[in-house]
């Protein structure tokens, strides 16, 4: 399977990475090289195989549904590029 320029543009947008028109052909070549490499898997029939869901067999632990952490908004916001009044701030989303 190989991707065309339009798909590279769409994937960049889905990945939320701005890519200029000039960069698209080189990225297309690199993406197609990787996709061609993983194409080897098509040789295998895995229709009767269960997908792996855990590298080590284990049951995910459960705990009581209660607050065990938190109450330090200053630490949470310490690395924010912009914060105000105890909140992260972003450009206006709703008109």
């Amino acid at each position: 399977m190989s991707v065309d320029i339009g798909t590279v543009r769409r994937v960049a947008h889905l990945a939320r990475i701005s890519v200029s028109e000039e960069e698209l052909p080189a990225l297309q070549g690199e993406l197609n090289a990787i996709l061609a490499f993983v194409e080897q898997l098509s040789e295998l029939d895995v229709s009767d195989v269960e997908p792996m869901t855990s590298a080590v067999p284990m049951t995910l632990p459960l705990r009581a549904d209660e607050v065990t952490d938190g109450h330090y908004p200053d630490r949470i916001l310490a690395n924010a590029p912009e914060a105000e009044g105890g909140f992260f701030t972003v450009p206006k989303v709703v008109e």
Binding site: A12, I17, S18, L31, V38, M52, A55, I76, P81, P91
Partner: protein, 494 residues
Amino acid sequence: MTALNQLTLTQAREGLAQGEFSAVELTDSYLGAMEAARALNSYTAETADKARDMAARADARIASGDAGPLEGLPLGVKDMFATEGVATTACSNILKNFVPTYESTVTSHLWRDGAVMLGKLGNDEFAMGSSNESSAFGPVVSPWRREGDATPLVPGGSSGGSAAAVAAYLCAAATGTDTGGSIRQPAAFTGTVGIKPTYGRCSRWGIIAYASSLDQAGVFARTVNDAAILMRSMAGHDPKDSTSVNLRVPDYEDAVGASVRGKRIGIPREYRVDGMSQEICELWEQGADMLRDAGAEIVEISLPHTKYALPAYYIVALAEASSNLARYDGVRYGERVPGKDIIDMYERTRAAGFGPEVRRRIMIGTYVLSAGYYDAYYLKAQKVRTLIKRDFDDVYAQGVDAILTPTTPSPAFGIGEKGSGDPVEMYLQDVFTVTVNLAGLPAMSVPAGFSSDGLPLGLQLIGRPFQEETLFSLGQVIEDAAGRFPVEDLWWSK
């Protein structure tokens, strides 16, 4: 007398316990060596004041009889581990100014046990790479050089800073992370011992995530026993990582030097890949002979799905990476680039913050998870993973205790030599190591010989789940037989 920073971790522990030198003296010896080795670019941050302070407190605890298992031992930390109050960047511009307000579980275990932090060590950006060339801090230079040739070589990756610093005596040992070979390949390139324990053995909490179903913390050290000492402190259950297992952590040092008589060691025929060099083939045979001479039984085995591991790995790892790295959006941490609206802000922030390899991997991961492709790629790769795991389960069920392979298909290469045209060329570095991550198994790289141009080569031992002790026993047999591979020419400090 050997310079203090050239003692092994085991020797330094003994010297501190006997009062031959203080933790402050030992730490100062490392800080001096680090200052003289900036040309190697192995540290992204040196924390000299913090190190001296921690060392002074270690000396006080030694004096009062309260020494912990790692008391006063100076360590380096890969920049993928969050360290409270110390910049943690994953060697990416997007996190260049990130200073965590918390400490990763693994590093908190080290400080709990008395270790001293010397600083943060470089890696490929977000641990994505096999040469340490994709770091936003620039490449790390290996302390090794080919005989009679000053070409700068890569230390391997992604934990290249950790490997170079341990080999160049810039820390007594270091932490690493391994998603597809990021501890074992650089260990092989630098003549150091590297172990990636079983998935779940170490907590991933506070480690910057790359591919969550594959990532695992581990150790770089100059000897097998040194690695055993550090592994014991790092391992252990953590309620903050739901994939960390609640199993007793053995004293791995007890396994170092234990007899391997009667152990069955598998030699997988599928690892004899096309184009493997003669010197790697010979090293592999010598390794088998070393284990046989120590009483182990060598058996040929088959892991039939080996050739599919690398493509399956790149689907699983890149898909998980695209999901994990979605969090770098310029809102909660990192650098923000303004845009005309929030989407534009995300896109500009991420374009400016991520380097080319990370951007490429996120895009592939996004593509294979996009509508209509999930089954064909990610689901299929997870099914192939089941087959790869089953290959290992089958040989272990036949009584095999561990598997011996080369760690890498070649010795270290020059900076700028590989992967510039075709990213897949670099991915092939991981051909012998990724199977282990896909199956969640423990594995160790031990230096075992030299290439024809005088560079160290490593052998990989793969164990049964949670049987790291077997690896320490077998690793010591190889270290005893092959000797150690210390860097002898400190060319960077002349």
